[in-house]
Symmetry: C2
Subunit: 203 residues, 2 copies
């Protein structure tokens, strides 16, 4: 145990994912030795994330403007929507360079035991996107790319049930090839790319 501010910082840092007490201590002493303006930049970046992060009104991805970069890009194929749990999953799929369509970020996966039901996810917004096709483009495929774990699978099943009444819409799921029980964001590009190109029809 250190004294005063340095221990408080170590305690706060140690709460972050992937940082134990040792890592937190290493960072705290690093910050003690850097110039003040480096700490200022970190504080300012944290404040901006707290206050200024906005989400795309269309897909729910993190965005700098009203629309995210992908929704604002007219060259992206509007007939395909890839449904993911989190913004970091969008990044993971973008890295494969296999997908040229749009995204829809749910903001999580169904997890009733922890109070996450359909109303806590952006499912209504997805249905509205499909119904509200006054832009003249018909969505022909929904790729369900939720995590290959219990919650993600349950979410996929729920989505299939909600979407099967839309005429001319096929709902697909990322192929197995992703290790079950894992996190989508940690899959390597090749595995994730294979999973994408081998996606199966669900309904």
């Amino acid at each position: 145990m250190y004294e005063g501010p340095i221990q408080d910082l170590i305690d706060e840092l140690a709460k972050l994912p992937g940082l134990g007490p040792k890592g937190a201590q290493r960072i705290a002493f690093h910050l003690l030795s850097v110039e003040n303006k480096e700490i200022d930049r970190l504080i300012s970046a944290l404040g901006h994330v707290r206050d200024d992060v906005t989400f795309c009104v269309e897909c729910g991805n993190v965005a700098a403007n009203k629309l995210c970069r992908i929704c604002a890009d007219a060259r992206r194929d509007a007939t395909k929507i890839c449904v993911v749990e989190e913004p970091k999953d969008v990044q993971a799929i973008e890295r494969t360079k296999e997908f040229t369509g749009r995204y829809h970020v749910l903001g999580g996966a169904l997890d009733p035991l922890n109070g996450v039901g359909p109303d806590q996810l952006r499912i209504r917004e997805l249905l509205r996107r499909l119904a509200d096709q006054d832009d003249g483009v018909d969505v022909s495929e929904i790729i369900v790319a939720t995590d290959p774990n219990t919650e993600g699978e349950a979410t996929a099943t729920y989505l299939v049930r909600m979407l099967r009444d839309f005429p001319g819409l096929s709902v697909t799921r990322l192929a197995s090839g992703l290790p079950m029980g894992g996190d989508l964001e940690f899959a390597d590009e090749l595995t994730l790319g294979r999973a994408l190109s081998g996606r199966r029809v669900l309904s």
Copy 2:
């Protein structure tokens, strides 16, 4: 690459020691999902470290008050001073529970190529502590516990030269040798050489 504030935070976090882009991303998205007051606590802890960290006027360790906890503790043996490079080295030695004396934190090690000479370290303060013994306690031993690398060894050699004229003062150095729990065959030549030349009589 994400958009806006979230990428700025990832960039800042990725500069910290032990955090790569993946770890930084993980923390940034974690912070996006926590309540604002958790980010507030982290920002406040960073601000306090930037503005309010003080150092013990006696030994140079990080401190909450004028004196650090160890210098303020009358039960600590004032006849022994263990000289270390950084505050984290104090913590490391405290964890052994083998040392009951006081400390002196140099604030680094001699490294002339990077502009660190004796004047950049708290060596003058150490000499003043030894000379200024109006508290009636004579320091009888200085344990030089700088790192066992080039800079730490050079600092130890320099300290021995500075301290040899103090009457009745013995200067000692932490033993170098094989790390406990390690394999002899995997020790590097330098370490094994030190272990051999520093061998102790068992019987």
